[in-house]
């Protein structure tokens, strides 16, 4: 029985119930959303079971007919989709439970659960769609929910602006995506993913299509140069940051590349682009994270960096490595954000320089925070270690030495900034008056469950195996190198932030420090190079419209009026004038006639 398409319907139903009856339901709206999510999870498990029994993709009917080709309401069921379904519903459940505690006194409690259910529905639809157009619908759907949830506390101008920025930045990527889809359609006449394995067409055109499709992924997964929206998106509630801006939606870009992997792997230029953009993003975001003082923004930059690492993994040809890291990252990054939320909930600030020594006051949050950190830092045997190792290994085996070094450097920085984060937050002594307390059980239970997965999910192994990539050589050496690098990062942070040893005086690197604190001035550059000129262009077109285009219209009227004004003067109403003109004309006419 084909049941996969019911999965997104449960959260959608929860959305409908909560949006229309939320005010009456009050706290119960959370239970509606959670119940829907649990049902979606159970159905995902059933699909998983059914898949091992041999059920696959199917179609529900025609959605649109384009150039004589029908586009279906198609559902794709394969390991990649099943992995995404399970991640979204499983992590989603715990984040929803956590939200009960986190959002408990918010006046728009039920609205929050409505939006997040709509998000789950779109996200599940996204991973089930079997063609680009259906995917694009849900793709924009998750983008919309992201917008609504970033601007959830819309009274704060910063939140409203962040929502706008997120929507427009991702939309820029999506425009490329759309054009890419069109090129692909015209080059090989298909919108369906299953046809990608066998597409043939002009090499350069397909490469271009793949790269343009990747720009969509860049926008959604906040990859350089479209990464600017993600740090600002931290204006939203933290549970949202955990679900949407860490574990699931931002991973949709990685999912897209993985989904179109046959297209990318057939065109080395496109694959190379993915790897390079991923590498740049990974390194750039990791360096910024080392100096940031906002607990959520550090994690946001870390997310950009880790997504970059996934892209790098895919780009060096590691479908299994990239998707494996997507899975483990979903667990530990969701955990880290939830921990951060628990901390913010307790201390009421996001500035890590004001925190310190929280481990003793918040034992569960502190302990799970540490587990998440170790997992992200890539310390064995925690989850992040295994998946990152796969990426490093693939980069090495497929002869990408530069990207291998970039990945290694990123791991070092990751270990460093994460250690810095927990040392400043959890260890040492409090640097300001904080009345910290442990969070309620609704918040700590999800932390504990997710920390179990953050610790052990690595042993599940890569969920997607690709053919011919099984035989790895020299993996122990790389494991050892990566472990040493991670431990060095942790150790360096220990020296700097616990022992407070000044290795290099900050003044000697103030230029670099400023560059990092100001995020490489990318926002400022965009403002100056793109946004301001664009607004000026709009203003200019309006002036052009009013003065030139409409001016011409009004000028025509004025000219007509002017001449009619002249002619009107002849209509004096005085009979003498008319008689005079008549006689004069008659005389002139006679003279003219007689002359001939």
């Amino acid at each position: 029985m084909n049941i996969a398409h019911y999965i997104p319907l449960f959260p959608f139903l929860a959305f409908v119930i909560n949006i229309f009856m939320g005010r009456r339901l009050k706290v119960a709206s959370a239970y509606v959303s959670i119940a829907a999510c649990v049902l979606a999870f159970i159905f995902s498990l059933l699909v998983f079971q059914g898949f091992s029994a041999g059920q696959g993709s199917y179609s529900l009917g025609t959605w649109l007919v384009i150039n004589g080709k029908s586009l279906n309401f198609g559902v794709i069921v394969d390991p990649l989709t099943i992995m995404m379904l399970l991640i979204v519903t499983f992590i989603g459940c715990f984040i929803l439970i956590y939200s009960i505690g986190y959002m408990h006194d918010d006046p728009r409690f039920s609205r929050y659960f409505a939006y997040i259910s709509l998000f789950m529905s779109s996200m599940l639809g996204l991973v089930l769609a079997d063609n680009f157009i259906l995917l694009l619908i849900f793709w924009e759907g998750v983008g919309l929910c992201s917008y609504l949830l970033i601007a959830f506390w819309y009274e704060r101008p910063a939140a409203a602006a962040a929502g706008l920025k997120a929507f427009i930045t991702t939309r820029i990527g999506d425009t490329g995506f759309l054009v890419g889809i069109l090129i692909l359609f015209f080059a090989c006449g298909t919108f369906h993913f299953t046809d990608l394995k066998s597409v043939t067409g002009p090499e350069s055109l397909l490469t271009l299509a793949a790269i343009l499709i990747f720009t969509g992924a860049m926008g959604k997964s906040a990859q350089f140069p479209l990464h600017v929206w993600l740090p600002d998106a931290m204006e939203g509630p933290t549970a949202v940051s955990a679900l949407i801006h860490a574990a699931t939606m931002v991973a949709a870009g990685v999912y897209l590349v993985a989904r179109c992997f046959p297209l990318f792997s057939a065109h080395p230029m496109a694959l190379q682009t993915v790897a390079v953009i991923g590498g740049i993003s990974a390194l750039m975001a990791a360096t910024i994270a080392t100096v940031n003082n906002d607990i959520k923004r550090v994690l946001a930059y870390s997310t950009i960096s880790q997504l970059g690492l996934m892209m790098l993994g895919l780009g060096v040809g590691g479908l299994s490595a990239g998707t494996f890291h997507l899975m483990t990252h979903a667990f530990f990054k969701a955990l880290l954000f939830l921990c951060a939320g628990s901390v913010i909930h307790a201390v009421g600030t996001q500035d890590i320089q004001k925190m310190g020594g929280l481990l003793s006051k918040m034992k569960i949050t502190g302990a799970t925070f540490c587990i998440g950190t170790l997992a992200l830092a890539g310390v064995p045997p925690f989850a992040g270690f295994w998946s990152k190792d796969e990426i490093l290994l693939t980069a090495w085996n497929n002869h990408h030495p530069i990207l291998f070094v970039v990945a290694l450097l990123t791991s070092f920085l990751t270990a460093f900034y994460m250690a810095r984060l927990i040392f400043l937050v959890l260890f040492g002594s409090a640097r300001s008056q904080l009345h910290a307390h442990e969070s309620p059980l609704t918040m700590t239970i999800p932390l504990m469950v997710l920390s179990v997965f953050a610790a052990f999910a690595g042993f599940i192994g890569a969920p997607i195996k690709e053919v011919g990539m099984e035989a790895h050589g020299g993996s122990f050496l790389i494991m050892a190198i990566s472990t040493v690098v991670s431990l060095t990062g942790l150790g360096l942070a220990y020296l700097l932030y616990i022992r407070r040893i000044v290795l290099i005086p900050v003044s000697s690197v103030s230029g670099l420090h400023n560059l990092l604190v100001n995020k490489y001035y990318i926002d400022e550059i965009y403002d100056y190079v793109l946004i301001k000129p664009c607004l000026r262009l709009c203003q200019g077109s309006f002036v052009f419209d009013a003065k030139i285009v409409d001016g011409l219209v009004n000028a025509m009227a004025s000219i007509t009026q002017f001449f009619s004004g002249l002619l009107r003067k002849t209509q004096t109403g005085l009979i003498q004038n008319y008689l005079f003109v008549q006689i004069l004309s008659l005389v002139l006419l006679l003279i003219w006639l007689l002359k001939i």
Binding site: W63, G141, L144, A151, G163, I172, V179, F185, F542, V553
Partner: protein, 484 residues
Amino acid sequence: MIPLLSSIIFLPLVGVLLVALTPSRLDKCIKYTGLLITGLGLLLSIYLVMCFDKTKSSMQFVEYCPWLTGLNISYHLGVDGLSLALIFLTALLGFIACLASLNIQEKVKEYFIFYFLLMVGMFGTFMALDLMLFYIFWETVLIPMYFLIGIWGGPRREYAAVKFFLYTLAGSVLMLLSILTVYFLAQPHTFDILKLSSVGFDPHWQMVLFLGFFVAFAVKVPLFPFHTWLPDAHVEAPTPVSVLLAGVLLKMGGYGIFRICLPFFKDAAHNLAPALAIFAVINIVYGACVAMAQTDFKKMVAYSSVSHMGFVILGVAALNSTGFNGAVLEMFNHGIITGGMFLMVGVLYDRAHTRDLSQFGGLSSSMPFYAFCLTFLSLASLGLPGLSGFVGEFLSLVGAFGHYPWLVVLAAIGLIVGVAYFLYMLQRVLLGTLNPKCVSYGDMTALDLISVVPLIIITFIVGFYPQIVLTFQQVTINGIAHLF
């Protein structure tokens, strides 16, 4: 058997008669007559849709009766897949705008008389199959519209009404000349649109005649640079008139192109298509840029119409079934969405008596229903996939991409600006802290909701399952596309 099409056209004339006989002090009575008549019209048009045979490409419900036999002018009506959706749109928006007209306070009797005459003209334009009849209905629309803007409009209503009237009339004159030329060129002389479609005019004449008709239609669409009457007319027109103006009147231009320009002058269409595509993209990008610069809410929506109607012309320029289907679907969707947008502007204007976007802020807190509806319609209008605005635009883009890839890329970039101005508007109106001036504004009334919610539902359904509309038009549109 009752002639269905004539009943739909002339039912509003019964309304004129009823209203004319009602003393003007009974303004409630007049308003209910208005609702009754437009409601009946809506029911009749739903009945029309239900009786329509989707599989036939020929005209249906044809009514034919010789009229001025000496000149071969006949009373000839018919409906096919091209006009069906637009007739339904006219009936629906006619009813919804009538609901919005219940707020009219002054000269109610005169208002409804003009309103009914406008309905007659709009229905007639979409059903006429005789050029002279078409022209008569086309001009019939003009006069009531002139009065509706000129009497019930805003402060600069006279300027706007005169501008609208003269601008469209200038276009119509060219159309009349072209109609006469077509009549004399065709052997035997005829005004019958169906017969003229298969005449095949001399290529040199085609160019001239195409442009003659096209300019008249381009003014209505409106196509750059003939669009400047639109923002003025919209800003001054009362809400229900704006709804009909954007929702139906602009479609008359697009409809004319499909009904007359394309089938009559195929060679000219072929030659002029690239130019059309360029103007279409100018409309899309330029309209969006100008909309971005607006501070007046209604003017912003008016320029967004300019931008969206560009997709209709782009679909036309594609000269294939995908583009044509996209263009016709976009006309229907734009009518629904922008009609709704103008209602939303009206709701706010009724409370604030200003349309200056800087005078609002934080309305999400005090007007949650309004916030929901406005956000929904804005998202539909900016072309969010999953809502109806996307499908038409997407089909237009796909259709045109094969011929003009670079222009399509430009149009897609224009869409980004479209996102920007709508979101910026939402930010200024709904988000932020509640503006102290807006504290007293009540949320949408039941009446407001009754008029907007059906449009929202249609937007959602068509966006999610576009075949529901496309199946009605496909056969006819593919027939037109087959000519090329």
